[in-house]
């Protein structure tokens, strides 16, 4: 269904430049992993706090607000380094069930983080029953770990 889009990505000048270069792709890939690590760190510190562990000296909202800035910049770096990797091998990814799975989990994780997780994190403490933030923290952690793990597995199981 989306094949024309994948073909368009494959034909971009940037994709050709990446295919022609020995260094461009691996360096972009390495920076992607670094950006992902920072992003996941900002997610996990918030998830720990939602679970009632880790930085409990600060309110959930305070940790979430500080983490949000890191999430934004690291997320931007993840995107900028992720897109050329995708377009360079767009036709391979079109056949990769793991890539499709990763994208669906990514969409779910982003939506969950921007809506439910965000609301629960900034809600007044004591306003929610104690299990709500815990469940939200656990779901968020599971979703983001699934994105990272399925991403890493694309290399091996296409």
């Amino acid at each position: 269904m989306l094949l024309p889009f994948f073909e368009w990505c494959d034909g971009l000048a940037m994709s050709q430049a990446y295919r022609d270069s020995t260094y461009l792709f691996p360096v972009t890939q390495a920076l992607h992993v670094l950006a992902v690590t920072v992003f996941i760190g900002a997610i996990v510190i918030g998830d720990l706090r939602l679970l009632g562990w880790g930085p409990v000296g600060q309110s959930r909202a305070s940790i979430a607000r500080s983490a949000q800035v890191i999430l934004f910049w690291a997320g931007l770096a993840v995107l900028v380094t992720g897109i050329p990797q995708f377009t360079t091998n767009a036709l391979t990814y079109h056949r990769s069930w793991l890539f499709v799975l990763k994208m669906w989990i990514l969409v779910a994780a982003l939506l969950f983080t921007a809506t439910v997780r965000q609301r629960v994190a900034v809600a007044d403490e004591g306003h929610l029953s104690p299990w709500v933030p815990r469940v939200v923290g656990a779901v968020s952690f599971a979703l983001w770990m699934s994105v990272a793990i399925s991403g890493r597995l694309i290399t091996y199981y296409g």
């Binding site: 020995t22 260094y23 691996p26 360096v27 890939q29 390495a30 920076l31 992993v33 670094l34 992902v36 690590t37 920072v38 992003f39 996941i40 760190g41 900002a42 997610i43 996990v44 510190i45 720990l48 562990w53 880790g54 930085p55 409990v56 000296g57 600060q58 305070s62 940790i63 500080s66 983490a67 800035v69 890191i70 990272a148």
Partner: protein, 128 residues
């Protein structure tokens, strides 16, 4: 990834870029057990992967670079814990200690970033 991510969160606090309203000593104390808990599986699976095919890593420049950065990052963390962290309480008021913490945090950010980047480059042994 969880390990390095949490270490980087602490580093960002040390250099003063994030979580500014969390006292240094307190957030350090509360993140530390989670950093250690995630360090163990990270180290164990890493050693396992190495043992599967050690010759693959022999004379691989990025693998060697990774080990060097890893050791330096470890030494930086040890020095920080045993020298600076001893005087932990009242950190946020002490100008000299916040300056040392900034340097240690910046060094840690750099060294862990280099560890991660060189690690991802291991499959491309460019300089044989």
């Amino acid at each position: 990834m969880v390990f390095a991510g949490l270490v980087i969160m602490m580093d960002l606090r040390l250099v003063g870029l994030a979580f500014a309203n969390a006292p240094l000593a307190q957030i350090q104390r509360r993140l530390f057990p989670w950093q250690m808990a995630s360090f163990v599986p990270s180290m164990a699976t890493g050693i396992l992967l190495f043992c599967v095919d050690p010759l693959r890593y022999y004379r691989n420049v990025f693998f060697l670079a990774k080990l060097v950065f890893l050791v330096l990052a470890g030494l930086n963390a040890l020095a920080f814990h045993f020298k600076t962290y001893r005087k932990a309480e009242g950190w946020d008021e002490d100008r000299q200690i916040t300056a040392i913490a900034r340097v240690a945090g910046a060094a840690s950010l750099l060294l862990w970033s280099l560890t991660i980047v060189s690690s991802r480059l291991i499959p491309n042994n460019w300089f044989k």
